[in-house]
């Protein structure tokens, strides 16, 4: 620690190089903290659980190739046959697919004449839909067999019993969300009774603010286009996809609009977030590399400049360890000053971003870990130049230059 004073004094004599170093560390820290925060933010939304049995669910969007009045019976026939395929756990029909970008949203209110309290996504299907998604019940019960209804379109308008997600229940009743079971709430102004609460399920749009708000209705819709949701036994997915397609294509006039596993749906849904977070990680990688190179170069420079001084110190009895310690400590001091400035500018930048782009601000623990890793990076980069410095021969002090 007794080196500290000379270090600070020598900063003054070497002001421009030191300032440059400090500035570099400060900028690195600013970008590092903000970029990691943004990347983590993206990762977090990608990592959110959809509530589905993601590995084992796939969907087929197809038509019902019969006249309109026969569609309902065609739908039942399809469902019965799909359920009978080997490897299928549950096959169901749904009015939409989570995260697929195509779906319905409804207004939700707790009072009949209130405008609305919040919005929610909606899926309607037969009684199997709950199990075909593979979602979990946290309160109340599943639909009773007698509650299943039929509609041609807009099943949410005829539903009587519904299930809602916990997140929606919490937004309506906060802490007392479990009380929602048995209560009547108003969906697009129509009174509907909540029979159960689902742990997690996501609406159709991944970037929607209330993506976790979902209403599930026991209403089968036999529209021109239907979505079959099929949950298979583990490992059976590709086989079932083939046999389901073969079955469906055995009807004349059948059009397969889309067949996708839920994992594909999710990858597509978050392709923007994925790309953005990968870019950010690329920036972070480049940043660390450039900074490490910079610190390395600067340390070399300051050591070459002080070759003679090092020689004198060695000649006067300083050990190799003391020389190394000096440069490591100097690096630490400069990094710390840089980080101190960096913390301020990181907060400024983070606030600027959050004002301009409505993002959150960087939490404090990012600053802490950012500090640790920046100092670590600095120490690693200075190690080799410091080692080289310690190997200078004391005899160098006797030479001019």
């Amino acid at each position: 620690m007794k080196d500290l004073l000379p270090i600070i004094k020598s900063l003054k004599s070497n002001l421009s190089a030191s300032l440059l170093f400090i500035l570099q560390v400060a900028i690195t820290f600013t970008i590092l903290v903000n970029a990691i925060f943004l990347a983590m933010d993206k990762r977090q939304s990608i990592g959110r659980a959809s509530g589905l049995d993601e590995q084992n669910v796939f969907y087929i969007a197809t038509n019902l190739p019969v006249e309109e009045d026969e569609r309902a019976s065609m739908l039942d026939q399809d469902l019965a046959n799909l359920n009978a395929l080997s490897g299928v756990e549950y096959a169901s029909v749904s009015s939409g697919v989570p995260l697929s970008g195509w779906g319905r949203f409804l207004e939700v209110a707790t009072e009949p004449d209130a405008r609305y309290d919040t919005f929610s996504g909606y899926y309607g299907g037969d009684l199997n839909l709950f199990n075909a998604f593979g979602v979990k019940l946290v309160a109340g019960s599943e639909f009773s067999p007698s509650s299943e209804l039929r509609a041609r379109t807009d099943g949410h308008k005829v539903a009587i019993d519904i299930m809602i997600t916990k997140s929606l229940a919490e937004s309506l009743y906060a802490e007392q969300w479990e009380q929602v079971v048995g209560k009547t709430i108003y969906i697009d102004k129509k009174p509907q009774r909540v029979v159960g609460v689902i742990d997690k399920l996501q609406a159709a749009w991944p970037t929607w603010v209330v993506v976790e708000h979902v209403i599930l209705g026991p209403v089968k819709e036999a529209d021109a286009m239907v979505y079959y949701i099929i949950r298979t036994q583990p490992g059976q997915q590709s086989a079932v996809m083939e046999s389901a397609l073969a079955y469906l294509m055995s009807f004349h006039g059948r059009k397969i609009d889309k067949i996708e596993t839920f994992e594909q749906v999710k990858a597509n849904a978050y392709s923007a977030e994925n790309a953005a977070s990968n870019t950010l990680f690329g920036v972070i990688g480049g940043l660390l590399m450039v900074t490490a190179l910079g610190i390395f170069g600067q340390s070399r420079y300051s050591i070459i400049k002080r070759t003679k001084l090092i020689g004198i110190r060695r000649a006067m009895g300083a050990s190799k360890g003391q020389i190394i310690r000096y440069f490591v400590l100097e690096n630490f001091v400069l990094c710390s000053i840089g980080i101190a400035i960096g913390i301020v500018s990181a907060i400024v930048l983070s606030n600027a971003f959050s004002n301009a782009f409505s993002l959150g601000t960087v939490p404090v623990h990012y600053m802490f870990y950012g500090t640790l890793s920046t100092i670590f990076l600095g120490q690693i980069a200075v190690l080799y130049p410091a080692l080289k410095a310690s190997q200078l021969s004391p005899a160098i002090a006797t030479r001019t230059v």
């Binding site: 041609r152 286009m225 790309a275 950010l280």
Partner: protein, 442 residues
Amino acid sequence: MGIYYTKLAMLSLWKTRYMSLLAIIIIAVGIAATMTTYTINYMMTKDPIPSKSDSLFLVRINNWSPDVIYGNEDEEHAPIYMAVQDAVNLIRHDKAQAQIPIAGFKDMLKLPTQDAVDAKMTFVRSSTRDFFSSFDVPFLYGSPWPQGSDKSGEQVAVISKKLNDQLFAGKNSVGQVVELGGHQLTVVGVLDDWSILPRFYGESTRAFKGPRDVFVPFQTQLNLELWSPNVQAFECWKEADNASVEAFWASECIWVYFWVELHNELEKDAYMDFLESYVEQQKALGRFQRPMLNELQSPAEYLKEREAYSSDSEIAVWLAICFFALCLLNAMSIIMTKFQSKAGEVALRRAVGASSVDLIQQYMIETGIIGLFGGLFGLLLSQVCLMLSSQLYTHLSKDIMAMSAQLMVVTVLLSIVSSLIFGLFPIVKAIRVQPATQLKSL
């Protein structure tokens, strides 16, 4: 003198070649990061159609339920799209320079000679012939369908170059027939390569995807009752009378975007007057029970209101600029190290009479050359980065990841100018030596 200084600069660069190379690489990395993100952001937010941005307008009329405000907003705005009947009426009145309904559907497309299994699900855009002239769409073969086809709803199609390559091996296919969902359509035109970014005329969520591959007259879609429930977003405040497509066409369900081309304020005012009289007339028929909120909205305003632009690309630019600043500081310290060893040379030059301005000139040529090489290498790197981005950003059209010649020049200039500026400090520092003391130590 310039040539001599350049020679000296080259010699000096070679003498400290590793350090020079390092400076060049670091500048190049910074330039590449900045220009890659800037290009993407620039392409995403640029004016999609500069020659027409003042003359194209989205027509918004307030057709919604008498009981609630559309979209449940606090401030009432007319919906972005309209019902089929209004689109048809506005086309029939023909009060604008060009009238472009934007509708669509999807269906199975194949050649009449192909088997049903080879048919591919294809997105189809339906509009009028004005679509092609108003949006400056280039044709490779043939032309837009004639006006008569818009009126009668003839079974004709314009196809993209890509589709023409797939179906007809790139040959002139005008007069050939394609089969779309069982309907035979005659090809009247083939588009040349065409992209329009951001693609403002349809759903804002798809503004950065390429245009569709098949175009048919709007009236043809109506006549043939071609409707896919999961292609065009639609909203209904009143249910259609029955489930048929015909009833849907006649319903109050809104889903057709309607653009017009109006060349000056006079035409705009005249069109607003026309819209007012049209809505009044419909009010008399019992429709349009809400306050009149007619609006003509420009592409830029529309995209902004629909929040089509993602803030990610803008954030990336800001981060990249910070990164570039860091790279420049880094390069600056390398150049400083480089010039450190020049003290003797500087002292000698000063002693034999060179002014400090002479020396600054000489060394600026050297930093300028570093900037030039950094810029060229950075340009190369940014092309690689853009290529990687087009692999990574699968949700965006590939056309976004292309740098214009203008941007390329800007890239190199930016590199040179910033190297000169950031190199100035090391130069000034280097030439501030005292010739006498320095010479003594030689």
